[in-house]
Each structure stands twice: as structure tokens, then as C-alpha cells.
């Protein structure tokens, strides 16, 4: 009926061509991270060769002009803000997604989801600005000075919450409807269904969400830079101003030269290492959980 011999001759090369094109594009995408690591290392080599890695943790202080490169206070700053915000944002984000799927009346579902989507897209600099003009003065009234670890944690929480909420939302949406109908048929109440059926099914998606938000918390720069006070010190209370690794780079990169510049690349490398460790840990744990 339809003679498509010519089509056939023409079509197979198309499939092959497409496949090779896609492979090329994917290779570029895959190589970006390699490039990043290579360039970070290349930029840090000078300082690592004549200062050495251990001095970044043992020097008396961070005074790059005088040749002191202690990164530990900034490392603590990063870890504290990250831990605090992830601890608060994870339950809030997951509950948010659960609200959308299982609790919200249909009329609220869409607006609420839109709200979260909108928030996921709001620039960190906006959060930072709001934190600077609203949150910081508020905290300053409770316990001066205001710019502090606490304000950093709070701002970061608000920022990463949409990330986990959207990821959780997506993975809840992937829970097959017939599981839910099955649970309903067994007469399971709502929370029991969520705990017993939804969480186990959506586990890996939720976990990815947590990893993503943790990464975002570690890497966040601007908002933190704007609300944390940027004093290089290991905080002793929630109200102490701090400086994170990321803020340090942003603050000093514009005038750093030579060893100082390389030292900032070292902090970049430290950040990368943290992220890589996080990714690997995530993979390890999720593999154990999913297949174990």
C-alpha cells in the first residue's frame, strides 16, 4: 500500500546520527564537572606546593595578607548554617508536599503548589535582601548585633524549603494510585497510609530532595553573605556573627592576588570535596536502603 523503501533507507542513518549527536551533547554535559575540578586544582597548585594543605587548618588565623590561611572558622560557619537549616527545612518541606497531595482541599492544592514553585524560583539575593532589612533588625532587637548564625539558618531554611518541597511533591506524585486505593480499601487512615505506603514508595525521591537541599545549603552564598555579619570566628552562640566559606570567597575574590587568590580556590576545592562526599554518601545510603 505505502511504498516506503526510500524512507527506510533514509531513516536508519537518522537514528544513528541522532544517537551520536546526543552522545556528543551528553559528553559535554558530563565533562563540565571534570573541567571544574581540573581548573580548581590547577589554580590551587601554587599555594598547595609551597604552603601545604595542613596549614589551612592549623594556622593561627585567617590573615591572608600576612600569610595566615586558617579556614576552620569558616568551615564551622558553613557546617552550622547547613545543619541548622536542613534540620528545619526537611520536615517542613516534606509536610508541605504531603499537604498538597493528601490534606489540602482541591481548591487549595493548585495555589499552594504555585506558591512553592514561585518560591523555588525566587533569587537568593532577594531572600538575602529581605533578611537584611527585615529579619536581621528583628533578631537585633532580641539579641544584638543581629547579623548572626541564627539569621543565616533562618534565611537558609526559607530558601531551601521549596527545593525539598518540590522534590517531595514530585516523588509523591509518582506513588502509583493503586497503592493508595489499596490502602484505602484496607481501611487505613490517612497518616497511616502516608507512613506505611507513601514514604517507603517515595523514599528515594525524598532522599534525593534532602541531598539537593543540603547541597544548596552548603553552596549558598549571597543570602548568607548578606545576613551573617561575616566576622571570621567560630560561633559560640546562635547570635554570633559568622562567615562561611562561600561568603569568604565572594568577599575577597575581587581583590585577592597570588597566594591569597589561590587560597580562595582552596576553599572552593574544600566545598567541592564536601559536595562530592555528600553525593557519594547519598548514593551509598540510598543503595543500601533501596536494595537492602
Amino acid at each position: 500500500m505505502t511504498s516506503s523503501h526510500s524512507n527506510i533507507l533514509y531513516r536508519w542513518p537518522t537514528d544513528d546520527l541522532l544517537c551520536w549527536l546526543l552522545r556528543g551533547l551528553a559528553a559535554i554535559a558530563g565533562l563540565v564537572v571534570v573541567f571544574i575540578v581540573v581548573f580548581l586544582i590547577a589554580e590551587t597548585l601554587p599555594v598547595l606546593s609551597h604552603v601545604g594543605l595542613e596549614r589551612f587548618f592549623t594556622d593561627p588565623s585567617w590573615h591572608p595578607a600576612e600569610g595566615f590561611y586558617n579556614l576552620t572558622p569558616m568551615l564551622w560557619g558553613t557546617l552550622f548554617t547547613m545543619a541548622g537549616s536542613v534540620l528545619i527545612a526537611t520536615p517542613l518541606g516534606i509536610l508541605s508536599a504531603i499537604f498538597c497531595h493528601y490534606y489540602a482541599p482541591p481548591i487549595l492544592t493548585r495555589p499552594y503548589r504555585r506558591l512553592i514553585e514561585l518560591l523555588a524560583g525566587i533569587p537568593s539575593v532577594v531572600y538575602g535582601f529581605w533578611g537584611l532589612v527585615v529579619l536581621v533588625p528583628l533578631i537585633g532587637e532580641i539579641h544584638p548585633p543581629g547579623p548572626s548564625l541564627l539569621s543565616g539558618i533562618l534565611i537558609l531554611t526559607i530558601m531551601i524549603l521549596p527545593t525539598i518541597a518540590l522534590m517531595a511533591d514530585a516523588s509523591l506524585a509518582n506513588v502509583p494510585q493503586h497503592y493508595l486505593r489499596g490502602a484505602a480499601a484496607l481501611g487505613l487512615p490517612r497518616w497511616a497510609t502516608i507512613r506505611g505506603v507513601v514514604f517507603p514508595t517515595a523514599k528515594s525521591g525524598l532522599f534525593t530532595g534532602v541531598i539537593l537541599e543540603t547541597g544548596r545549603a552548603i553552596g549558598e552564598t549571597m543570602a548568607i553573605l548578606m545576613v551573617c555579619g561575616n566576622v571570621v570566628q567560630t560561633p559560640s552562640s546562635f547570635f554570633d556573627p559568622i562567615r562561611t566559606l562561600t561568603a569568604n570567597i565572594a568577599l575577597e575574590m575581587s581583590y585577592a592576588l597570588g597566594d591569597h587568590r589561590a587560597a580562595l580556590f582552596v576553599s572552593g576545592l574544600v566545598l567541592m570535596t564536601m559536595i562530592a562526599a555528600l553525593t557519594m554518601a547519598a548514593e551509598w545510603i540510598s543503595r543500601g536502603r533501596i536494595y537492602g
Binding site: 500500500m1 505505502t2 511504498s3 516506503s4 526510500s6 524512507n7 527506510i8 531513516r11 536508519w12
Partner: protein
């Protein structure tokens, strides 16, 4: 009789009563020593079988005996399943199905397939039919419209949908969707139609309609149908092949005309399975 004896002598399966034996053409599908593995797990092994044109051949047997896998090997849908390995030989007309240089697209036009669950594309009814036609090089809108009408009439769907060809195919009922899928396959005028339990996901009424339709296809297409419904197989099939699980893998136990296989099975396993259905 041991299954091995069956394998050594493939039984050509000819349409039974209606056709005079003198006019019997050569078998269309030759399967020789065919095995299929998913990774290390065999789905079926050493199947040797010939199927003649024009009739309806039913593949029967319990779940997990490799009937569906066998069907998907015939049009190389197995290519799409990661880790799936097919060995042996399949010939359809003059085409060496498993040869790497075989044009899969030509093969799949020659061998249409209907799935257990109706699977129309998320397009309009019209486009479900015309999109594959266009992709196979039919550009003339008049001809496309003609083919659409012919195949829809062929599956008895024309009167039901002629006024709403532009509405989404997914809005049709399950039975209508399945008939649309059959029409979609027929539009490409295949020689062989593979059907994987085409009625089992449908309600009895739709199932009956589709079954009538399959009977109507007899003589014009060669139909190979997998079914769990032995009563249905008896009603519609000209020839039948019985699969069974032995040592964790599917085996072809017995082939023959439908009448012979259902009324006077030669193999004890077949007899037990058939009588189980009776009892």
C-alpha cells in the same frame, strides 16, 4: 511422548476445515531452536515451530511459560528490553528476523502487534491512524482518509467514531481503544498480526466484539494469538501450540490443529492442562 520428539519434527500448522489441502501454501513463519533469556534467566528454550498463513494460531499455556516473550521475539520488540537475548532462528517469509542487518522497520510493518492493554497514542483518533501512515511515507491526504475509513470499518468502529475523529483516542472505551489499536495495525497492511491476550483487559461484551473481529481477520491475515482463555482458543483457533514450564524455563510441548490439540492431545501434559480447563 517426550517433548523432544515434538521438537524434532515441526508440525506445519495449516488452517483446518475450510481450505482444501491442495491449496495449502508453504508455512510463513519458521522458528528453529529459538531461546530467549532475560539476563541469565531463560524465558523459553529450544522452541521449534512452523506456522502457515491465513489462519489463526493460538499459543496457550500457563502464565510464565514464555508465550508473550515468544510473541515479542517474532517482531524483535525484544530489542527494546535491556538484557534480553534471543538465540536461534526465525524466518518470516524470506526475512531472517534475528539477523542484525535485518531492517527492523520493514519487519515490524510486516508483523503487526496488538497488546494486552489497549495502547492508543495520546493523539486524536484520526491521528492515531494517520501518524504511522505518514511516517511510513503515505503523504496523500485523500488516501490517508480512505485508509482510515476502510480500517475503521474493518474493525466495526467507523459508525461509532466517524463524527468525532478529532477527539482524543484515550476518551474511547477500553474495547473501542483495542479495536482502534487493531485498526492502527491493519492500516499498515501487515501480513502477520501478533496478539498478546487482546481480550483479557476488556469487559465481556467488548471482548466478544474483539473476538468476532479476530475471526473476521481469518484468511486475510495470519494471526498468532496468545490467550489464557482456552474456551476462546477453541472457538477461534485453527491451529494451536501448547507451552509449559519445565525446569524453570518455557518449553513448547505440543503443536497441532486446534481440534487435534483440544480433543485428542498427544502429550500427557497437554491433556492434563486441557482437562483441567474442562474440570
Amino acid at each position: 511422548m517426550r517433548p523432544a520428539d515434538v521438537h524434532t519434527k515441526p508440525h506445519p500448522l495449516y488452517p483446518t476445515d475450510e481450505q482444501p489441502s491442495a491449496a495449502v501454501p508453504a508455512p510463513l513463519i519458521h522458528v528453529n531452536n529459538l531461546s530467549l533469556h532475560y539476563g541469565d534467566r531463560p524465558a523459553f528454550q529450544d522452541v521449534t515451530l512452523s506456522i502457515g498463513p491465513g489462519g489463526i494460531t493460538a499459543l496457550v499455556g500457563p502464565s510464565g511459560c514464555g508465550k508473550t516473550s515468544f510473541l515479542t521475539a517474532l517482531n524483535r520488540l525484544t530489542d527494546l528490553i535491556p538484557g534480553c537475548r534471543v538465540t536461534g532462528e526465525i524466518r518470516i517469509e524470506n526475512l531472517d528476523v534475528l539477523a542484525p542487518q535485518t531492517d527492523v522497520i520493514r519487519l515490524r510493518r510486516l508483523v503487526g502487534m496488538i497488546f494486552q492493554k489497549p495502547n492508543p497514542f495520546p493523539l486524536s483518533i484520526q491521528n492515531n491512524l494517520s501518524f504511522p501512515l505518514r511516517e511510513h511515507g503515505l503523504r496523500d491526504p485523500v488516501q490517508i482518509a480512505h485508509t482510515t475509513e476502510t480500517v475503521l470499518q474493518g474493525v466495526g468502529l467507523w459508525d461509532e467514531v466517524k463524527d468525532r475523529l478529532d477527539s482524543p483516542a484515550l476518551a474511547l472505551s477500553g474495547g473501542q481503544q483495542q479495536r482502534l489499536c487493531i485498526a492502527r495495525a491493519l492500516a499498515l497492511s501487515p501480513a502477520v498480526l501478533l496478539m498478546d491476550e487482546p481480550c483479557s483487559a476488556l469487559d465481556p461484551l467488548s471482548s466478544g466484539l474483539v473476538e468476532d473481529l479476530i475471526v473476521n481477520l481469518r484468511g486475510r491475515y495470519m494471526v498468532v494469538i496468545v490467550t489464557h482463555n482456552l474456551a476462546q482458543a477453541r472457538r477461534i483457533a485453527d491451529a494451536a501450540a501448547f507451552f509449559w514450564v519445565q525446569d524453570g524455563t518455557g518449553r513448547l510441548i505440543e503443536t497441532g490443529t486446534a481440534r487435534q490439540l483440544f480433543e485428542a492431545p498427544r502429550d500427557a501434559l497437554t491433556a492434563a492442562y486441557i482437562s483441567g480447563m474442562r474440570g
